[in-house]
Each structure stands twice: as C-alpha cells, then as structure tokens.
C-alpha cells in the first residue's frame, strides 16, 4: 500500500480565524477516503487545500506540509495550473459550464493541449463512460449541459474532471444536492473509479461514508479527531466524540 498524499502539521487560516489545526493524515492510493463531521468543522476547507482552491480567496494562509508523490503542494512557487490537472475536483452543486455536453468534457484538454485532436472523440466517450453517463447522452452531445437533470449534470462534472486524466479526485459533498436515485448512481460509480483514481470525498452523511469508503476521517472544530479504516472508525472508535457523532448524539 502506498501513500499518495501525506499531510503533516497542516494549519489553515481565513484571516485571523484558524480553520484547521495541526492536521496529519495519509491518503492511500486507489482507496476512497471519506471525511465526515458537522458543518463548519473544516472538512471542506481541508480538501480545498489539496488543489489550492483557497488561493482564490483573499486573506487565506496555509502552513505545514502536504506532500503529493513527493511534491510539496503548499510551496508558493508551485504551479497550481499543473497541480489542478493532476488533482481534479467535483463540487457540492453541479457546476457545468454553459456550453454543450461535449465542450464541457473537452474543456480541460483543450486548455492543457496534451491530447491530439484526433483522440478527442474517443476521450469524450471514455470519460462519459467512466462517469456512467454515456448511454444517456451519446445522441445529444451537442446539446447544452443545462438540459441535463441535476444528477446527470453532476456525473458530467465527474466526466469533465476525469477527462484531464487526474490521479486524485476531490469530491466536496457531491451528492448533497441530488435525490436518492441520483445519489445511488454516483455511489456505484465511485466503486469503479477507485480502481484508477485515489478519491477523497467530503460527505455530510455518515451512512454514505460507511457504505463507500475505505478510510474515514472525523473532523470537529478544525481538528482531525479520528482517522483510520472505515470499519474501525465506525465499529470501534477510539475517541468518545467520534462515538457520540456516529451514534447521532450531535451533528
């Protein structure tokens, strides 16, 4: 088993507010790591440090170390454009671009320019297949992405992220805006995705974490309270607060 990402002593600040306190975590390759905890606990902030999305917000600061295959992600001189190609992200609400379905999938490769034009059609097909959306859209690739349902839009966003061939996929509560059927589809999909990708998923649903993940981390007030194999965390938590949370005493 290999560590894909190693987080050490990570602190994170929004202005004067410390949102993450001394986080240490190993993310394992080709596994699904779920992050749970009540809202405002820092789990979303945490995954946004890994593709440096916080750069877009004024007054944020991260210290400590996040090592990704040996590259230091918090390095000021790191090229975030390159980084975000290798670490893809899917957001809470589906956010397709106001373009056609095909254009959405091709957006990343067109920018990065590392796939020859002749392979684009194939790439669209494989990406949409991996996101199990292909059969639903194969005859309307030129239609606006907004014509799709919410669940389909979210799978399109997954396909869009996969098309740039990332190694890691960050998912920030990807099913919170979806109905149960669409949610089930995406959960099924995750099972497939972990064969090729390392997945980190933030979820507000403990059941979801228990169903789909290999590892689980529990965040509370900016601290990582507990981290380990999902089975262990759910059946035999070491910290009282974790137990209280997963048994529904708060949250």
């Amino acid at each position: 088993m290999t560590n894909k990402i190693k987080v050490e002593h990570l602190d994170f600040y929004y202005g004067n507010f410390q949102a993450l306190k001394d986080i240490n975590m190993d993310i394992h390759q080709n596994k699904i790591t779920a992050l749970i905890g009540p809202s405002g606990c820092g789990k979303s902030t945490f995954i946004k440090t890994m593709n440096r999305m916080f750069d877009l917000i004024d007054g944020t600061k991260a210290t400590g170390s996040i090592s990704f295959d040996g590259t230091e992600l918090l390095d000021k001189n790191l090229d975030v454009v390159q980084l975000r190609k290798r670490i893809g992200m899917v957001f809470q609400k589906p956010n397709p671009f106001p373009k056609s379905i095909e254009e959405n999938v091709l957006y990343g490769v067109k920018r990065h320019g590392d796939v020859p034009k002749s392979e684009w059609d194939e790439l669209v097909k494989t990406s949409l297949k991996k996101a199990s959306l292909w059969t639903e859209v194969e005859h309307k690739l030129n239609q606006s992405a907004f014509s799709l349902s919410g669940g389909q839009q979210q799978r399109l966003c997954i396909a869009r992220a996969l098309a740039t061939k990332p190694e890691v996929l960050l998912m920030d509560e990807p099913t919170s805006a979806l109905d149960p059927i669409a949610t089930a589809k995406i959960e099924e999909l995750l099972e497939e995705l972990k064969k090729e990708y390392t997945v980190i998923i933030v979820t507000h649903s403990m059941q979801q974490a228990a169903r789909i993940s290999d590892y689980t981390g529990f965040f509370l007030n900016g601290e990582l309270i507990e981290f380990g194999l999902t089975k262990t965390v759910f059946s035999n938590p070491t910290d009282k607060r974790t137990e209280d949370y997963i048994t529904g005493r708060f949250g």
Binding site: D79, V81, D114
Partner: protein
C-alpha cells in the same frame, strides 16, 4: 507528447495569462490617464482666466472682460425648476408602479418597456419634442420653463428607475408591519416606505440632475441662447446656461475664447463635483443602514 513540449506549452499559457493581465490593466490605466489628461488640460487652459470677476460678470464679445454670471444663474434656474418638476413626477410614477400597479397588467408591462426605451432615446430628440410641444404648441416660447420641462422629460426615466429600486429595497416586513396595524396604503407609503427609500431616491435624482446640468443639445433645440447680457428674473425669461455658453465660446476660433471656455468648464465641473459628492455621501448613508 514529450515532457519538454508539455513544459513549453505550460510556460506559454502562464506567459499569455500574465501578458493579458497587463494588457487589460493597461486598458484601464489608459482610460484613467485620459481622465487625468482631460482634467489637466482644462485646468491648464482655464485657470488663468478664472477669478471672481469671471463669475460675477456678463458675457462680452471681448474675452478678457467676459464672465459667466447669466449662464451660472441660468443653469441654477433651469436645474432647480427641472428638479421641482421631474422628482415629484418620477417618484409618483415609481410609487404607482411598485405599490399600486398590478405587476401582470398590460399597463405595467407597457410602462416598463416604455421607460427602458425612453432611456435610450438621444437627448436631442427630446429637444425636438420640447420645441414642438412646449415652445410652439403650448406657446411657452424659448423660456426657462420650456427648457426645464424638456430636461424633466429627458431625465424622467432615470429618476423613475432609481426610485423604483429604492422603493423595492424597503423590506416587505416593514410594509406588512404597517398594513397589519390597519394603516391605509397611502399612509403606509408616506409614513414608512418613502422615508426609508428617501436617500436612495435622492441619490438617483441628484445623479440625474447632474446629467441634465451638462446637457446642451436639447436646450439648443428649445431655443436656449449662447449669449445674453441680462440676468434671468423669472421662469418665463429667455436664458443661457453654462454648457451653452461654453459651446458658444468653443466654436469661436480665437485662442482667448478657448481659454475662457476652459474656465467655464472648470466652474461647471466644480458644480458637478459638488452634486456628485452629495450623491455619493447619500448613497454611503443608505448602504450603512442596510448592512
């Protein structure tokens, strides 16, 4: 694709990003430097002629003796009268649209389309309307009143739109609170809605009036003149205004007239600055309260 070509492509993208960032910034800086050059140019040409007697003298065909008093007073007369006409009409219309009209009625829809279109009509066209209706048809003649009526129609759409926005911004809970106490519609409007919307309405109205203050085209059409040697004394007097006088002086070939035109511009810009700062202060006051 090789690693070096990949790296080259990335470097190129990052370069383009920086290059265009500076290009876009240059676009802004260019616009702002034009502003500075324009103000500097006007000051350089006009400051020499600007003194107290320039403000208190009559225009003259000899530039060194000319002053702007009738134009300054004319501007104040016309803009003052325009405010008296346009603000009640504009606010009244806004009240009707926001508080009375059925938002699905044809009247409401026509009003909205109409106001949008009126805002896009060139100001000189309002001048033609003023000439036909006020000067000729209603036989008001080329007087201060005709000018003010014409400018009122010109800025009416702006006042209506900004008043509607200000009234909309009053929280509906406040209105409902008043209605729940059994207060009638009109009493609610005068007692609760208008006082809360007032700073917003005034800001919009002042900005509209400051636009009117710089207008010359429609006033040329309704017979404002570029050169008078008497002071306005009532709303049925003939008149000139600052923009008219500036236009008159600018169209003369001699350099000395360009200089006093610049001095006139300085006076007009000071007036505009005062009105705009008033508007900005009022706007800040409203923003503070909402936050």
């Amino acid at each position: 694709m090789g690693k070096t070509s990949k790296r080259r492509r990335l470097a190129q993208r990052l370069f383009l990003n920086k290059f265009f960032e500076y290009l876009f910034l240059a676009a802004i800086l260019l616009s702002i430097s034009v502003l500075l050059i324009l103000v500097g140019d006007v000051l350089r040409k006009g400051l020499g002629s600007l003194d107290w007697s320039f403000i208190t003298s009559m225009p003259s065909s000899r530039p060194e003796r000319a002053g702007i008093l009738p134009a300054l007073l004319g501007t104040l007369w016309v803009i003052g009268l325009t405010a008296l006409i346009s603000i009640p009409v504009g606010v009244g219309t806004a009240i009707y649209l926001e508080e009375y009209a059925n938002k699905r009625s044809w009247f409401f829809r026509i009003m909205n389309i109409n106001i949008g279109n009126l805002a896009g009509v060139p100001s000189i066209v309002y001048g033609i309307l003023g000439l036909t209706v006020f000067v000729q048809l209603l036989k008001i003649g080329p007087t201060i009143l005709a000018g003010a009526l014409t400018l009122s129609l010109l800025i009416l759409p702006v006042i209506i739109v900004s008043s509607v926005e200000a009234i909309k911004a009053v929280p509906s809970s406040v209105k409902e609170g008043s209605y729940a106490l059994g207060v009638s519609r009109w009493r609610t409007i005068t007692g609760v809605i208008l006082p809360m919307a007032l700073p917003g309405i005034l800001t919009g109205s002042i900005l509209a009036l400051s636009r009117a203050m710089g207008e010359a085209a429609p006033l040329i059409m309704v017979g404002a003149v570029g050169f008078v040697t008497f002071l306005p004394d009532g709303i049925l007097d003939r008149y000139t205004l600052l923009p008219m006088l500036i236009y008159n002086w600018t169209s003369r070939p001699q350099d000395a007239f360009a200089q006093i035109a610049a001095a006139g511009i300085i006076v007009m810009m000071i007036l505009l600055l005062i009105t705009n700062i008033t508007a900005i202060l009022l706007r800040r006051k409203t923003q503070n309260r909402v936050e």
